[in-house]
Amino acid sequence: MLSSRALVRGLQVGLWRRVSTSASALAAHAQDIEVIDCSIPQYNNRLDTPLPDIPFVRNLTAEQKKLKEKEKESWTNLTKEEKLALYRLTFELSYAEMRKSSDEWKTTLAGVFFFLGFSGLLVWWHRIYVYGDVPHTLSPEWVEKQTKRMIDMRVNPVHGFSSNWDYEKQRWK
């Protein structure tokens, strides 16, 4: 018990800490992480919250700032493109874009079939090179004797097995 704890501790210090805090590992990982500050309001594209907490574009260029000033006047003066630009400043995706489905299901299905097929190949290899012989009770001679015995015993004579056998003519109906 104590020795295994010492072993775990030794592994932690000697191996894992060295690996996890090595400069190269940290540097490689730092590039994939997008640090999101969850303590301030976030933008989201959700069907059930039509008005997110903050607009999509926070840092406006000079041109966008001018547009925002124009928005404060009468909206009839805005051209169609300006209205669209203002919309895209506040929202990333429109409802239609949010609802749009993707073709991902085709890739998923293709992957599923591919790996099912691959598993089939593995099972085939097993059948040939790993599995032993099938039990002797599945050989045709045994099955024949078995079937005759079932008919003699009148297995399921009303609707089932023996109902298909003609006992007068001694053959299948």
């Binding site: 015995r149 003699d152 015993m153 009148r154 004579p157 009303v158 609707h159 006992y167």
Partner: protein, 76 residues
């Protein structure tokens, strides 16, 4: 810009009022269909089978075939 106020309450009750009777009727129909397509024919088939069933004849046939352990075929 004056739209009529939408219905805010009783939406589930309204839906249930419509769909619950239908659900009950479908359940009853399913039961009745099964009874008259599966259960009754099966009972009839068993009744017909056993009306003309000679158990002694069948027993002797089985005995001769040698499936019993308590009675061997009459030849042995």
């Amino acid at each position: 810009m004056s739209l009529p106020k939408p219905i805010m309450r009783g939406l589930l009750a309204k839906r249930l009022r419509f769909h619950l009777p239908i659900a009950c009727i479908m359940a009853l129909l399913a039961g009745a269909t099964f009874k008259f397509t599966v259960a009754e024919p099966r009972k009839q088939a068993y009744a017909d089978f056993y009306k003309k069933y000679d158990s002694m004849k069948d027993f002797n046939a089985m005995r001769e075939a040698g499936v019993f352990e308590s009675v061997r075929p009459s030849g042995e």
